[in-house]
Symmetry: C2
Subunit: 332 residues, 2 copies
Amino acid sequence: MSVTLKDVAALAGVSRSAVSRTFTEGASVSAKTRSKVEKAAHELGYSPNALASSLTTGRTKLIGLISNNFHNPIFLEVFDQFTRALQERGLRPLIVNLTDETEPANSVRMLRQYSVDAAIVASSTLPPSFAKAFHDAGVPVVHTFGRSATSPEVHVVGIDNVECGRMAARELLARGYKRVGYLGGPKNATSALDRYRGFMEELANHPEIDVTHCFADAYSFEAGRAEMLRFLEDTTAQAYFCGDDILSVGALSALKDHGLQPGQEIGIIGLNDMEMSRWESVDLTTIHQPIKQIITSSVDLIEEMLKEPQRYPEARIFPCRVIERGTLRPRP
Amino acid sequence: MSVTLKDVAALAGVSRSAVSRTFTEGASVSAKTRSKVEKAAHELGYSPNALASSLTTGRTKLIGLISNNFHNPIFLEVFDQFTRALQERGLRPLIVNLTDETEPANSVRMLRQYSVDAAIVASSTLPPSFAKAFHDAGVPVVHTFGRSATSPEVHVVGIDNVECGRMAARELLARGYKRVGYLGGPKNATSALDRYRGFMEELANHPEIDVTHCFADAYSFEAGRAEMLRFLEDTTAQAYFCGDDILSVGALSALKDHGLQPGQEIGIIGLNDMEMSRWESVDLTTIHQPIKQIITSSVDLIEEMLKEPQRYPEARIFPCRVIERGTLRPRP
DNA sequence: GCTCAAGTTGCAACCGGTTGCAACCACAGG
DNA sequence: CCTGTGGTTGCAACCGGTTGCAACTTGAGC
C-alpha cells in the first residue's frame, strides 16, 4: 500500500539505515548516498512515517490542545493563533473538546495513548487540577490563560487578572462614575474571581463609591445578556466592568432592550479586545489582552520544555491596556 | 518511563500476546486470564499505546480536519460540532490550518506522515483540488460544505447552494422588492458562485427587477462591510442577499453608518443562521443551514468509509429554510 | 607504500504493539 | 479409556522506523 523505508532502500541499492539517516537531521551520510536515496524517495513519493519513528525516538510532535470554550468568539482567534504557531514549528495540534467533560483523568489517558509530546490547556474556566493532572502524569504542560498563584507546579502564560480588575476600577473612577458594578464570568473560572478581587480591592479605597456585582453562568452572549437584564431591574449602577468582551456584547444587547444608550447613559468596559469589539456597531471600550503574544509565548515555552523537560516552572504575565472606544463616557 | 505490554505481562504472569488480546475487541482470552491482566494493568496504570498498535493494524483513529476559515464565527460552531462528533466515536481530530497555504501537496504529505485514517476538508473556499488530492493519495476524504458537481470523485456533504440562491431571490420577490443585489463571498469559493448563479437564474424570470452584484474578498465582517459601503455610494437596491451571515453583519454595520434602518429602509437576508444572528441586536433574517446535521452526517460518512474504503462517492445535500427575523420587510 | 584517524555503512536489536500458527488444554461423546 | 472438538495460549515474525556497534572505506601525512 504505502511506500516504506525498505522500498526506497531497495531502489537506491543501500541499506535501510542509510535511508533512515538521510531523513534524520545531523546523521552521518555521504553526499553520494544521500543523493541516491533522495532520488529514489522522490521517485516513489516516499515520506517517512512520523508515528513509526516516534516509537524509537519518543517524540511524536503531537501537542494536545485542550479547551472547553466554544461559545466565545475570542476562541476562534485563539485557535487560529495556536494552530498556526504550532504548525510553524512543525508541531501538530491534537484537539480535545472538553465541553461535556469534567474528569481530567480521561483526557490525560487519551492524550497519553497518543503519546503527545506536551499539552496546552487553553482556558481559564478549567480548574488548575486539569493542568496539574498532566503534569503529574509526566506530560509537559502549559496552562494558557491560567492562574499562576494556585498552580505553582505548572507553567502558566497569561495576564494578571487581579491587576486587570484594578485597572477597570481605576478607569471607571477616573471617569467619575459613582455607582459601579462587576459583571463577571462563571464563578468556577479563576479569571472571573481574580478580576472581581482586583476590582473590589481598588474600590475598597473609595468607600463613597457604590458597588454591586454578579457572576454569569458562562463566558457567553446569553449569560451576559441575562445578567445585565437582571441588573437593570433593580440596580442603578452607572457603569459596569464586564469580565469579558462577549459578556459585554450580551450586556449591550440588554441595554438596547431597555432603550439605554451605552456610553451616554450607562458605561461598559470589557476585557479581551476581540475582533468584534472593533466593529462600529459594537465599538466597545475594553481592556486589551495581548492574545497573540500570549499564544506565541506559550508555544515557545512548549518548545523549550521539549528540550528541557525538568525546566523549573514559570509564569509569563503580559501587561494589558485600556482601548478607548465608545462605551464609556470620556474622562473629564 | 511509561508502562508497556511487557511490564503488565510480567506482573500478570502471562505472555505479551495475552495482554494484547485482553485489550483488543473480540480476541480470544479466557475470563481468568483477562481478570489477571486487568488487575495487573490497573495496578500499573497501563494504557495501550495507540500509535504503536497503529503500526500493525493500520488504523490510527486520527482524522485530519482541514480548514482555512478562522474569521467567520460560524466556524467556532463548526469546530465545536466536529470535535465533539469525532470524539464521541473515539476518533481524534488533527487540525490543519490552511490560512496561508495554497498547495494541497503539503497538507497531504503532512497528514500521510501521521497516517490519518481519513480527512475532512471543511470549507467552501478551498478549491475542489484539495479534497481530490487526498482522494488521489488514497486517503478517504469528505468535503464538507463542498460542491458535488465539480467533485464527482469525493464525498461531499452540504447544501444546494444554487437552490439557496434561488430561495433568497424568491424571498425578496415575495416581499415586493424591485431593485435587489447579491453581496457574495470570495469568487474562489464555490458557495459564493453557486449562490450567485441560483440568485440570478431565479431573477432571470423577472426581467422587470433590477439586479446588481459583487463578490467580497473573504467571508468576513470587514469584507462584507467594505462591499456594502461601496454599494451605498452609487447603488439604489432596496434589498440584498448577503451570501453569509458574517457578510450580513458587516453589511448591517455599513447601513448603520449611513443612518439606514435595516428591515425598514433596506432589506438584508443572510445565509447560515449562526448564533449571533439570533442576538436581538442583529436579528438577522437568514437562510438556515443545518450545520449540526451536516457535520454529524460527515462524520457518519467518515466512519462508513473506514469500514468500506472503496465506497462509491455520494453527495449528501440537506435542505435549508428561511428564518424570519427583522431585516426584511414583511410579506404583503 | 604504509599507517591511522575520520567518515561512512550495514547488521542486528529494539521501540510497543498485533497476529498467524501450532501446541496445548479441558471436556463431551462414544 | 480414547477421540475429537473448540477454546486458549505462547512463540515468533512483523509493522516502519532508529541507533549502537563494528567493520569498512577513504584519503592525508609521512
